[in-house]
């Protein structure tokens, strides 16, 4: 009875607020008939996104490290391959992404303006990648990072890693902060920091001098652990990430607007110890919540049990909700990309449960509502993801208090 009451409370709480449907707009450069460098093309993209019923649209501000707007923080003269010969060309046909710096108005402003035209879309947001190297390939390395090898990450044995600059350096945070400022200046109402798609970054790569010095200060005479999973090492590395998040908060505060700051966590499972996000992405999401650094936590993938896909999903959702305990919004995933057991898609969950994908979506949304989530997040609403039948379930989903409680 007590459990039912708690459940009812959560459902009522969820029902009382709007149940948000967030759609991340990612790789439309590959779409067959959508030119994201034109207003018409952007409108086509948004029409496609609206098929999912999304009411919050996250427009990706960068393609890898290449700004989709006239950035002053990034040297746009060499963003195109092969104008910077340190960047290996993408071996796709020569198209897309190459002229953003010459778009008038810039592509991001165009996208935001088009979003504003849509009725029923409560907000639009910006999708910020944490690092320059999403995709993990050499074509999308950031110009600024390429120009500053002194801030590059290092492996435990001191080898250089040219993909990432470390947040242990204040200069790196200042650069990333400038990018956030530019995005906010274009009217972004959400800074959605995708921490999980980071091109292979992690504490594994953060053996840089400021972190080594901090380790020596904390643990005099003790060698830096070669095993980056050492919780004490993770704590050292995480300092830079928290500093970056605080810098984002300060930039948001400076706008005077009610901009939400949301970060993603991935591969979530029921554990109280250091998890994948801590050892793989460099921050402890619990501390982020404890310190009130974000308005929202977007769970983008969970490590569900294939023998009990939806039961285990609900246990993971409740685990997160229990820790957050109302201190920030939580969004749960309707995930398109499948990385099998560690990060299954909704289609994989459907396969494990022996049901059809639309039914899997309905169950996931039901669980999200039952657990008191603020909404769901779709990653990524590309042309090849979320077929029409699946979109319809998301679009027409209504939070029904009575029916949920009676389950």
């Amino acid at each position: 009875m007590k459990g039912l009451a708690a459940c009812l409370f959560l459902v009522l709480a969820a029902g009382a607020c709007a149940f948000e449907k967030i759609a991340l707009v990612d790789g439309f450069d590959y779409a067959p008939d959508m030119d994201t460098e034109t207003v018409e093309g952007v409108r086509k993209v948004l029409a496609r996104v609206r098929e999912t019923g999304a009411d919050t649209i996250l427009w990706r501000t960068h393609s890898g490290a290449i700004p989709r707007y006239a950035s002053a923080a990034v040297d746009l003269s060499v963003v195109e391959q092969p104008l910077d010969k340190r960047r290996v060309p993408l071996t796709l046909p020569v198209r897309g992404w190459v002229r953003y710096q010459r778009c008038v108005p810039d592509a991001l402003e165009t996208a935001f303006a088009c979003c504003a035209e849509l009725n029923g879309v409560k907000c639009f947001g910006a999708h910020m990648l944490q690092e320059d190297a999403h995709g993990g390939r050499y074509w999308s390395l950031g110009s600024w990072t390429l120009d500053h090898p002194q801030y590059w990450c290092r492996s435990a044995d001191g080898k250089m890693e040219m993909h990432h600059a470390s947040f242990a350096y204040p200069e790196v945070i200042a650069h990333r902060r400038a990018i956030v400022r530019e995005v906010l200046a274009r009217g972004a109402q959400m800074i959605y920091l995708d921490t999980t798609r980071n091109g292979g970054y992690g504490p594994r790569s953060d053996y840089v001098k400021p972190n080594l010095d901090e380790w020596a200060r904390r643990h005099p005479g003790e060698p830096v652990p070669a095993d980056f999973h050492d919780p004490r090492w993770l704590e050292v590395v995480a300092r830079g990430h928290y500093a970056y998040y605080r810098a984002i908060r300060e930039e948001i505060r400076a706008t005077g607007r009610a901009v939400q700051f949301v970060i993603t966590i991935g591969n979530v499972r029921v554990t109280d110890g250091p998890d994948w996000n801590y050892a793989g992405c460099g921050f402890d999401w619990r501390k982020v919540v404890d310190n009130g650094l974000v308005e929202g936590l977007a769970v983008v993938s969970i490590s569900a049990d294939e023998n009990d896909p939806f039961g285990s999903t609900e246990r993971i959702f409740r685990h997160v909700m229990q820790y957050v305990n109302g201190r920030c919004k939580v969004y749960f995933p309707i995930r398109a990309y499948n990385f099998s057991k560690s990060q299954p898609s909704y289609e994989q969950l459907a396969k494990w449960a022996g049901i059809k994908p639309p039914e899997a979506i309905r169950r996931l949304m039901d669980i999200a509502v039952r657990c008191g989530a603020a909404g769901i997040v779709m990653e990524c609403v590309d042309p090849g993801n979320y077929p029409a039948a699946d979109c319809k379930i998301i679009r027409t989903f209504k939070v029904n208090v009575t029916s949920e409680v009676s389950k």
Binding site: P93, V94, E222
Partner: protein, 572 residues
């Protein structure tokens, strides 16, 4: 497997000199719970270790011979070896205990001490590589026996073993009182003695478990047991390297300390080769040239001086687009070489004064141009006329002429890969080097790496036309490295730079003895112009900047910084 090799030693004096070196020696009292005492241990670190940083080092544990102690090996052969091959040497005092745990004297736990106590103690206090592949154990005589036996018994701890004239069959020394103290009298305990022999361990050794090296003199009284060990290992098809040395100098094939020191010094080189398969060292800083003052020339980048020394070609950013210009160095007059449409970059002189460059011109959005024959292609400018060398939806760039002027080498994303590869629908990034005749024709593949996400870029042909220098990306995350090969055998690679430093944009000196490049090393404030010896090994930072080239007389280097071209004299 190398076996039965006879080496000849000519110079006994080689190990007697006292070399100036920077290796550091410290002695520690290491507690042993197993033996209830402290053990003296010498630790030798290379000079580079003291510089600090994050670099880790492989470790060689050296087990001394009978009648020696932790100071015996503190000789030039070791101090020089540590510095030259960059490893940490650890020399414990083993008394006359044959590096074993005695079944007769419970307090003798030398094996336990070395394996279970000393190795963790060292790894906890020094920047070591904790993997077995980068941990060797070696010694001579009693220590050679100890190294071989401990290595074979603890292949999970040691990956490499060096046995110099080891007493690998202790049964052959049945009359030794020290062994009787440890194992009981031989008579009546033969089986125990045999079980403590290296030969017995070799019977049990798993093939591939260790990298095993043995050296023994042809007049050594332990020659036979070492030959027996070699034969046993060969019979069991266990790979190892066995060397017998016949010295022409007195004592250099007998059971002597000078021989032991010489042999261990040789083993260090072999160990270093093993370690190098796991790790590599950055280039050594050394003054290679004297440099003059920096002189600004003009706005631009990617600049080089014409073969007659009178003109400069460079690219310049104007209104957000790059174009290629030629500047008369005497008058300062400039003329645009590229068409002015689109963008043009990476200019390079031909011997006849022609200019090779890369250009592209997109007038549409990327999407709209998706079916066009748009691409970055090579153009040749000569005497005021332009000619397109390559065509198609490719990216052909960073081109250079061969010294004969008849062939152009360039980086390209359309070189023929072994197979078509995609990941999540994306083509795997792979850029290689191709060649095409200056009169056009079909381009041929010159160099490509087999791995996905790899690249070979910025080809430069040596002045003698025999070597292909370029920058390569070997695998995910790694920085650019400089690589050189024979021109006709690009897969025969010599890496000139390590993964501890970043390097790209190489350029030969006119005499082929130096290579200038853009580099970054630990502690630098940013990218810099470096010059290295053409074999790698040594390097020198000349200036803050990028994209260097030598002037045709070899007396100056041209480079750019913040989109300004500079010149600096260099004197060898």
């Amino acid at each position: 497997m190398r076996k039965g090799r006879i080496a000849t030693v000519c110079a006994v004096a080689a190990h007697i000199f006292i070399a100036a070196n920077g290796a550091d020696v410290k002695t520690f009292d290491v507690p042993s719970a197993a033996m209830g005492e402290t053990v003296k241990v010498s630790v030798v670190t290379p000079a580079s270790y003291a510089v600090g940083g994050t670099a880790r080092y492989p470790v060689v544990y050296l087990l001394h011979g009978a009648g020696n102690d932790h100071t015996t090996y503190l000789q030039p052969f070791l101090l020089d070896g540590v510095d030259k091959w960059r490893f940490i040497a650890v020399v414990p005092d083993g008394k006359l205990d044959w590096w074993m745990d005695s079944p007769v004297s419970p307090k003798v736990r030398r094996e336990t001490f070395v394996v279970d106590e000393l190795v963790p103690w060292i790894d906890a206090r020094f920047r070591t590589w904790p993997q077995r592949q980068r941990r060797a154990v070696a010694g001579h005589s009693m220590g050679g026996q100890g190294a071989a036996r401990l290595g074979m018994r603890h292949a999970d701890v040691f990956g490499i073993v060096g046995n110099v004239m080891g007493g690998v069959d202790i049964c052959a020394a049945a009359k030794r009182k020290d062994l009787a103290r440890l194992l009981g009298p031989y008579a009546g305990n033969e089986a125990r003695w045999r079980s403590f022999s290296v030969l017995a361990e070799a019977e049990r050794l798993r093939p591939g478990a260790l990298r095993l090296f043995s050296i023994v003199g042809t007049e050594d009284f332990f020659l036979k047991p070492n030959r027996d060990l070699h034969e046993l290992l060969s019979k069991r098809h266990i790979a190892h390297e066995y060397t017998e040395v016949r010295g022409e100098t007195e004592g250099m094939s007998k059971h002597t300390r000078p021989f032991a020191f010489w042999a261990l010094g040789r083993l260090f080189e072999r160990f270093a080769e093993c370690f190098a398969e796991e790790a590599e060292a950055p280039l050594v800083l050394r003054r290679l040239v004297q440099i003059g003052d920096e002189v600004a020339i003009c706005a631009g980048e990617e600049a080089s001086v014409s073969p007659d020394g009178k003109k400069l070609v460079f690219q310049r950013l104007v209104d957000g687009r790059f174009a290629v210009y030629v500047r008369d160095l005497a008058s300062g007059e400039e003329a645009m070489v590229s068409s002015g449409d689109g963008q043009a970059c990476y200019p390079e002189w031909g011997a006849d004064g022609s200019v090779l460059y890369t250009a592209a011109n997109e007038t549409k959005t990327g999407f709209a141009a998706r079916n066009d024959e748009t691409g970055w292609n090579l153009w040749l400018w000569k005497g005021g006329t332009r000619r397109q060398l390559t065509k198609g939806r490719q990216r052909a760039y960073t081109a250079t002429f061969a010294p004969d002027g008849k062939t152009v080498y360039f980086a390209c994303d359309r070189v023929k890969a072994p197979e078509s590869e995609t990941t999540n629908g994306l083509a795997i990034s792979r850029v290689g080097i191709a060649a095409v005749g200056v009169d056009g024709g079909e381009a041929r593949t010159v160099c490509i790496r087999p791995e996905g996400n790899s690249a070979c870029c910025e080809p430069r042909i040596s002045p003698d036309g025999k070597r292909l220098l370029r920058a390569e990306l070997v695998k995910f995350r790694e920085p650019w490295r400089l690589v050189v090969s024979p021109l006709g055998d690009a897969d025969s690679r010599t890496y000139l730079t390590s993964r501890y430093e970043a390097a790209y944009a190489p350029a030969w000196s006119p005499d082929g003895k130096l290579i200038a490049y853009t580099g970054f090393r630990d502690g630098d404030a940013g990218w810099g112009v470096y010059v290295m010896s053409s074999e790698g090994v040594e390097t020198q930072r000349l200036a803050d900047g990028r994209n260097p080239s030598f002037t045709p007389d070899g007396k100056s280097i041209i480079y750019d910084r913040d989109r300004t071209v500079y010149r600096r004299e260099v004197t060898k």
